[in-house]
Symmetry: C2
Subunit: 569 residues, 2 copies
């Protein structure tokens, strides 16, 4: 089938779709145009190039077998034509022609197509503050920018940097600059927490503490107002609250889908500017496909159109589109929103909705959190994992899961196990209680944390205990002079007594003693219980309940959660 | 509700069910009887105690907060009565009474019950060979045996050991003895491979090579015939082929469900001797529950009754039963068969059926294998993972997944992601192609191995290439004088040329050159292609196909797979 396939955009999805199409239909004429010089690079790797972990910029452009993916590679190895430095100007849908401009010669040309693919990606959302165009102010989406930042670091030209935006790329870049180059980094995030939208405030507090421990300043709930410079080079970032001296400002404030070409051709786009596609990744014009960072796809949990600009989404969508461009009928049914990010000592990972987002979406959502070892507690190498499950109170439907832990792969294992079920089933809390993950002591607990977090959710929804976060507990503790809360530490004697010795309002009543010492506890409460992870304090809650003491809250994750948040009594 | 709950068996499921029941219904009288002294221990931890990784035997009996789970613990902390050294003799179902015998005093007693739970576990299947009762011959299921083996190792009393059985416990024990104590270990396995039933021969060959590399002798397809001793202590194991001197023989030859009590009470048991239960974990007598290693539960993939004696199964079933004993109606809907085992340098993990088992179950099953890095290829810390997907040729239904890799948690993440979907959906190959796992370069590839293995399966089922295993390739290579196969190495020039220089029948034709050098390839084949991982050779297959050369097989996993199997041309 000698079809003429034209692809606009050559970073991730475009090349993937081109190669897949060409593999299935060798007779197709496949041409990629891209306005930039570099194509087919792993943009997600940029923070690791900046840090020096990826040594060579070419590593981000190479195949696993170390061949550079340049136009010649695509021509000789894949039979795909690539025209770089060529901009798509407009689409003539009736004539099935794309007007392009060679940025070198300035020459314009009409390219005919049978099928067109828009893989135009997204551009960084840069707030129009004064000074955003100074030298040393940039977004880290292009290889050239990555190179410039890495060179500046290597040359010692940067002592202090400000990252604007505390989401994935912002934090990955903060780690790269602080951990590897020893640069003083400040992260300014408009929202009241890091990783807004993907983590609840309590897990986000762990992310914050992980940064702060490593000398990264984090200013949440703060907006930058102005960037000042000297001799056209950046010198200061000014927020509402402070002035931060710096030689580098990196904007990581989200992305805007590149949909102008689609819009001006009359294709349907969403209110947030992403190209609308069906499950075959076709736009409202059946000869035009679109995918990757420029499109909107269905959020499987909410059923609503969403936007998830990730390299992994682009690759999978690219294969689906490639199949369809070759005459197939592959489908891409949507996303659940899985993500992972490595910070300093902790990694974070999640899928589905946070409790806050779930409520915004109209779910009657609740969440519970647990701290548990990531493998058998008797196994020598192990670490504490935090896991949060989000569910609908009404029908017990699981809506999301997020977590934190030092062993990133172990965390990922729990998140991905639930993510798959979220994608293809409609799990309830009971389903996750019985989720069958692979078990042996070096890899999991016999009652694993992913099952336990569901068990805890079930206990909570059955009214067996009233959970609070470690953060909320510490707020109660701070206000103890006013609120009259009776604080019980249910840990084994030594741990509790140590705090008790310093804090007279702290009552060390180990689980083993609570039944005998119940008379010490005020019958009508309020009582707040804490232990090391929440396990012993839950047992204490049940014992108190038997004695009719029910005005009791229990800290999920206990002192372990507090510790990760940098909190102590 | 003052119910009388009687539980026979106090290792894993019994205590879990007891505590859960008691938490939900504090008024219940819950009694556990067990004929042994030790209860509530982590039997799965025994190999790690033997190795010394778990320092103290008590660690296997302790809660995560370091309290020993002895009868006093259950009495004071859980309100559960435990009677050790007490054997259940028979059930009077009409009178709802259990006859028990105190093994100390010999006194018999009838204990009434409202609900009875059989948590009788399974016993090691010890083949009745001559010498099986010699000193130094044992199964590693009880703490006392673990202690004896550890002491013998510590005292230097064991120079050589024979492990009979190459499944999970056998191999974990082999690692414990060889890696930690430097004991010469021989594993004798009746089947033709290690880990029979859970791994296909090619992955099993990787397990074998992992053992052999560390000086463990593995004799597969061999049966022990006799054990000889001197002064009642073991001295030799004799198989059909050899005599192995040793001071220790450990039987790890599977388990027999302990169902005599159930059988003699007239409860339904399966043909393989496991107690039959419904989804509420009730036996054919609705007042009697059963769970854990003594029961049969439904295999969700085949729909047939199966047996999976794992501590994780016991714990989850225990919670379900505890809920139901307290008047609830929790369900346990079956298992998909997820497992994990850590050997020396590699770990293995799987879920669902192997291709061989799937065929036995009547599926028209095929499998494909891939080798790919477990995270972004440009990320500095990474390792090669092997993944095998099993699917039905007819409808593309995914039936199982197995894998190997040095980073156990990373492997587990891929297996568990698919396991969850196997449990709650009925995934097709296309579903796994689009499985949404969490992505960022330190944790996954943008097109991750778990997606790629499904993509490869799809390509294979579509007839785009004809796969062979690395083992089959090396067999073809060994027989090259007779079979006339033309061998092509599609790796980059250097790697292929090195082999070509030594092996005149080896044709180094890198992917980059194959189009130009197609005349060198015999038009009618047979041709066998190999590269580093299978990626470049697949591209070569497509190029040859365009030239009409189709009698071509391609090695899945390439030289990387061969390397893990200890094979080379």
């Amino acid at each position: 089938m000698r079809e003429n396939i034209l692809i606009v955009g050559g970073v991730a999805l475009g090349p993937k779709a081109a190669c897949r199409c060409k593999r299935l239909n060798h007779d197709a004429e496949v041409t990629i145009i891209d306005e930039n010089h570099h194509i087919s690079y792993g943009g997600c790797g940029i923070p690791y190039y900046v840090s020096g972990e990826v040594n060579n910029l070419d590593d981000l452009r190479a195949t696993p077998y170390h061949t550079i993916r340049d136009p010649e590679f695509f021509r000789s190895m894949k039979g795909v034509t690539v025209r770089t430095r060529t901009r798509a100007i407009s689409i003539d849908r009736a004539a099935k022609k794309l007007l392009v401009k060679d940025l070198g010669s300035g020459r314009e040309e009409n390219l005919p197509y049978d099928n067109l693919l828009l893989a135009t990606g997204a551009r960084p959302r840069i707030p129009p503050v004064e000074g955003h165009d100074l030298e040393g102010v940039l977004a880290l989406t292009k290889l050239e920018a990555a190179e410039a930042v890495r060179m500046a670091c290597q040359n010692g030209a940067v002592n202090s940097a400000v990252i604007v935006g505390g989401s994935f790329i912002g934090l990955e870049t903060a780690v790269a600059l602080a951990d590897m180059w020893g640069i003083k980094v400040s992260v300014v995030e408009m929202a009241n927490q890091l990783l807004p939208g993907v983590l609840s405030p309590d897990l986000a507090r762990m992310a914050l503490h992980d940064c702060v421990k490593r000398n990264v300043d984090v200013f949440t709930g703060e907006k930058i107002e102005r960037i000042t410079g000297k001799d056209n080079a950046v010198r200061n970032v000014l927020t509402e609250q402070r002035e931060i001296p710096c030689e580098l400002v990196i904007f990581a404030t989200g992305f805007i889908p590149n949909s102008d070409l689609a819009k001006s051709a009359g294709l349907e786009v969403t209110s947030f500017g992403a190209v609308l596609v069906d499950e075959y990744m076709r736009t409202s014009d059946k000869s035009i496909y679109a995918g990757g960072d420029c499109v909107s796809i269905k959020n499987i949990i909410t059923g609503k159109p969403g936007h998830l600009p990730l390299g992994s989404m682009a690759n999978r969508q690219g294969r689906v589109i490639g199949t369809n461009l070759a005459g197939g009928s592959a489908v891409f049914s949507g996303y659940v929103g899985s993500w992972a990010v490595k910070l300093f000592d902790l990694s974070f990972c999640g899928a589905g909705l946070t409790v806050e987002n779930a409520r915004k979406e109209g779910f009657d959502a609740v969440s519970v959190s647990v701290e548990q070892l990531d493998r058998a507690h008797f196994y020598p190498e192990k670490s504490m994992m935090s896991l949060t499950l989000v569910a609908d109170k009404g029908d017990g439907r699981v809506l999301g899961i997020q977590g934190a832990g030092p062993a990133g792969d172990a965390l990922k294992a729990r998140i991905d196990a639930v993510a798959g079920v979220l994608q293809y089933a409609r799990p309830t809390i009971g389903d996750i209680s019985n989720l069958e993950i692979s078990y042996s002591p070096p890899f999991a607990s016999a009652m694993d944390i992913v099952n336990v977090v569901a068990n805890v959710a079930e206990n909570m929804l059955a009214g067996r205990f009233q959970p609070i976060t470690a953060e909320a507990f510490m707020e109660l503790w701070a206000a103890r002079a006013k609120n009259g809360v009776f604080f019980i530490d249910a840990r084994p004697t030594v741990a509790g007594k140590t705090v008790e010795a310093e804090q007279p309002d702290w009552h060390a009543i180990p689980l083993e003693e609570i039944d005998a010492r119940v008379a010490e506890v005020p019958r009508d409460g309020p009582v707040a219980l804490i232990c090391n992870t929440g396990l012993r304090s839950y047992d204490s809650v049940l014992i108190l309940a038997r004695h009719g003491i029910v005005n009791v809250v229990n800290v999920m994750g206990g002192m372990q959660a507090a510790l990760k948040m940098g909190l102590q009594p």
